[in-house]
């Protein structure tokens, strides 16, 4: 039969067919491809040449600890490591218990730990031991999570609820525990400060945001207009002015005999005030997505207004806005770099101070690129983990 003799159509598979289909399908695609190649060559060649020959990457290696923790007392460093081990433990435990949902974060954390072990070995630094411990703790708690009885989920939830206050206590220290001496917040710095600001800003803003969202949808006009006014005012002005205001005005607003809080605490207040307005809008979106039938069904069951809210509506609404909350986590993480303007030693301000060291004058590109890599890598990892979590939870699917 003739049909059997026919050759397969040419060039439907293989690299050349791929090139033809994806790069040279029409005359203008050919043109675009060559333009793009020329552009890439013109940009990447000098960039690579600079990165491999001219750049003085030693500036990063020499100041790595400064970038990570700023002026945090070096003899108290174990407290920072302990927060990382605890994070590893919590992630491992969640992985063991919730499996799919936490797997993204767990794989990222494991991979990051391995990468840091390799980097530590390459740089001849002892930190690889710490990362090895962190990864080991993660795996141990994963095993623990697997064998835990059904109570596991509530244990892990409780663990996460305790985790954030606990790391704050651990990093800040207290007068009441002799082996945990207080570390003044103006010694916090680098990535440590950035992460603390992000965590406190997000977690502190969530309850306020929920209240503002409920206020904005309330039937009581005064409550509603107050919420609208607050949300629109904060959303209408730049974050840096809110931080500025918190920094300068909080001391003025406090009673005379009260010692004004440190700059870090003032800035945290600013972040919470700012973030609350944005999270209120996120939560409002979730509230609007709840079907009227849910309210009516709750009423028919005889639930009061408060119970309807807390048992029926808010759990569903918050679940629906998980992606938006993760997004605001990332955008707040980026926004913390604005505290450098107020004068706090976050990654950016540390970068500026490193640039002022006489050994490393003129290394702007190296230092800023390193800061980019920190932010970019962290955001990429976080986005990956949160997307896996959303998929496993089926957010937005039902």
């Amino acid at each position: 039969m003739a049909a059997i003799e026919m050759q397969p159509p040419r060039l439907s598979v293989g690299p050349i067919a791929w090139l033809k289909k994806n790069l040279f399908s029409t005359w203008y695609n050919v043109l675009l491809t060559f333009l793009a190649l020329g552009l890439l060559y013109a940009l990447l060649k000098p960039a690579l040449q600079w990165a491999l020959t001219e750049a003085r990457w030693g500036v990063i290696e020499a100041n790595l600890t400064l970038f990570m923790i700023g002026q945090y007392p070096r003899e108290q460093l174990w407290r920072v490591w302990l927060t990382i081990y605890m994070l590893g433990g919590m992630i491992g435990l969640s992985w063991g218990i919730w499996k799919e949902a936490a797997r993204g974060f767990a794989l990222i954390a494991l991979g990051a730990g391995l990468a840091f072990i390799v980097i530590g070995l390459l740089l001849n630094s002892n930190v690889w031991i710490n990362w090895l411990i962190a990864d080991a703790v993660l795996l141990a708690f994963y095993a623990l999570g697997r064998i835990l009885p059904q109570r596991g989920a509530s244990i892990a939830t409780l663990g996460w609820l305790l985790y954030f206050p606990l790391i704050f206590l651990l990093v800040a220290g207290t007068r009441f525990i002799p082996w945990l001496p207080p570390v003044n917040t103006n010694q916090w710095g680098g990535l440590l400060l950035t992460l603390m600001l992000t965590i406190v800003g997000n977690i502190g803003a969530l309850p306020l945001g929920v209240l503002l969202a409920l206020g904005r949808r309330s039937k009581l006009p005064i409550l509603r207009y107050f919420s609208i006014g607050y949300i629109e005012l904060i959303r209408g002005v730049p974050l840096v002015t809110v931080l500025f205001m918190a920094n300068l005005l909080v001391p003025l607003f406090l009673p005379v005999n009260l010692r004004p809080p440190d700059a870090v605490i003032r800035v945290m207040i600013g972040f919470i005030m700012f973030e609350a307005a944005y999270q209120a809008e996120n939560v409002r979106g979730g509230l609007q997505a709840i079907n009227r039938g849910q309210y009516e069904a709750a009423q028919a069951l005889g639930l009061s207004g408060a119970l309807t809210m807390s048992l029926i509506v808010l759990p569903q609404a918050l679940r629906a806005v998980i992606p938006a909350l993760f997004n605001s986590f990332i955008s707040l993480f980026k926004d913390t770099s604005l505290v450098a303007i107020i004068g706090l030693f976050d990654i950016l301000r540390i970068a500026r101070s490193v640039l002022a060291q006489s050994d490393w004058l003129g290394t702007h590109r190296e230092v800023f690129l390193f800061a980019f890599i920190i932010y970019w890598g962290f955001n990429l990892a976080f986005t990956y983990g949160s997307r896996r979590l959303e998929e496993a939870m089926g957010v937005g699917k039902r």
Partner: protein, 388 residues
């Protein structure tokens, strides 16, 4: 008739709740007010806007309205506001182009182009703007060669660490005489538009297509008459050229302005690219297939079918990106461009008028935000889907 006890009456409870809320707000406000006044009294400060008329006695790097150090604080703040408005307005226009092009490129069938667009969006969106601004300013623009060895691009555009030099136009002495013709030409456009609209409403049909050539023809006619009566042109091209130690002629963008504008445009463009992509992908495939089966070309499909529909999805998030750009221009303080926030900061440091200046800053940004969203809402209501 059943009488409910008043403590079970919903309306009573609601009213009570509001009264309690107002009382709490008033208490908090009173507490804060008392604290502020004692604190200010202890520091020997008074609240008031009298300082605005005092001489500022500091210099400002660049301004679009006349300013010198002997001018008042009020004038200085106004200079900052104008600087903010200029960079925001230019930024909004440019970032729209960058964002739309990147958004379309992201969906290109050309693998390389879509990968490049994806890399741009992925990197820029995930790093903080303020570090990007510092990178562009300290890492790129200030590292450019000196004026003598300027990087020359076609245009001619010259890149130096002292600033960017672009060709531009300047008014000739004849510009004043030309103003009348330009106004008449503009007025004629409005008159034609009004006439066409009247015809459309009166007879319920669009004017014939060739009438639209009047839009082009009439202004050209008027300008031509102007040219007959006033042979010298109103504008003269300015080409930057090296003269001694500096460039003469052309437009000069200061390094701070160039870095801020570039940084804002690149950053906001990456967000707009995602909005545009999502807007285009929101159009159902059936629309594209229907357009293709009607025989429209790819370009026609994009222009006539996809874009008008995507616009409805795109405009609301686009508005908030425009607002973000204007608000983000306050990061200018990090690289020394004298915008509203950075000048207000100087004023606070000099006068100690913290509360007053913060009120001015917040009101300025707030009114800018409200004005932009008003404009975009009007535009949005015009392109919105009209449901039957």
């Amino acid at each position: 008739m059943q009488i409910t006890a008043f403590w079970r009456n919903v309306r009573f409870l609601q009213a009570l709740g509001q009264v309690v809320f107002v009382l709490m707000l008033a208490l908090a406000a009173g507490f804060l007010y008392a604290n502020v006044s004692t604190n200010l009294a202890r520091q020997g400060l008074t609240v008031g806007y009298d300082f605005l008329t005092n001489p500022a006695s500091f210099d400002i790097g660049e301004s679009y309205i006349s300013y010198e150090a002997s001018n008042s604080y009020g004038r200085a703040i106004l200079v900052g506001l104008v600087n903010t408005l200029v960079v925001s307005a230019l930024g909004i226009v440019l970032t729209t182009f960058v964002g739309v092009i990147a958004g379309i490129a992201r969906l290109s069938s050309n693998w390389l182009i879509s990968r490049i667009a994806a890399a741009y969006v992925g990197v820029i969106r995930n790093t903080p703007l303020i570090i990007q601004l510092m990178f562009w300013y300290f890492g790129i623009i200030l590292q450019l060669p000196a004026v003598k060895e300027a990087v020359a691009l076609p245009g001619p555009i010259f890149l130096t660490r002292r600033g960017l030099y672009l060709p531009g136009f300047e008014a000739t002495p004849a510009f004043d005489a030309w103003k009348i013709y330009i106004w008449v030409a503009l007025a004629s456009l409005i008159v034609i538009w009004l006439i066409f609209r009247w015809i459309q409403n009166r007879y319920d049909l669009p004017p014939p297509l060739w009438w639209y050539s009047a839009y082009l023809f009439l202004p050209i006619l008027i300008l031509w008459v102007g040219f007959m009566l006033q042979p010298e042109p109103p504008l003269k091209e300015m080409i930057p050229e090296l003269a001694g130690l500096n460039f003469r002629g052309g437009l000069r963008l200061t390094p701070e302005f160039a870095a801020l504008l570039f940084g804002l445009v690149v950053y906001t463009g990456s967000f707009i690219a995602e909005i545009v992509r999502a807007g285009i992908q929101a159009i159902s495939r059936g629309q594209v297939e229907a357009a293709r089966s009607l025989g429209l070309t790819t370009a026609q499909t994009l222009r006539l079918i996809i874009f008008p529909q995507a616009l409805r999805v795109i405009i609301p998030p686009m508005t908030s990106q425009y607002l973000n750009l204007a608000k983000n221009s306050s990061l200018a303080i990090a690289i020394g461009y004298p915008d509203l926030f950075s000048i207000a900061n100087t004023v606070i440091n000099q006068t100690g008028a913290v509360i007053e200046v913060i009120v001015i800053i917040m009101l300025s940004y707030l009114s800018m935000s409200l004005f932009t969203s008003l404009l975009m809402n009007i535009y949005n209501s015009r392109v919105r889907l009209v449901e039957r």
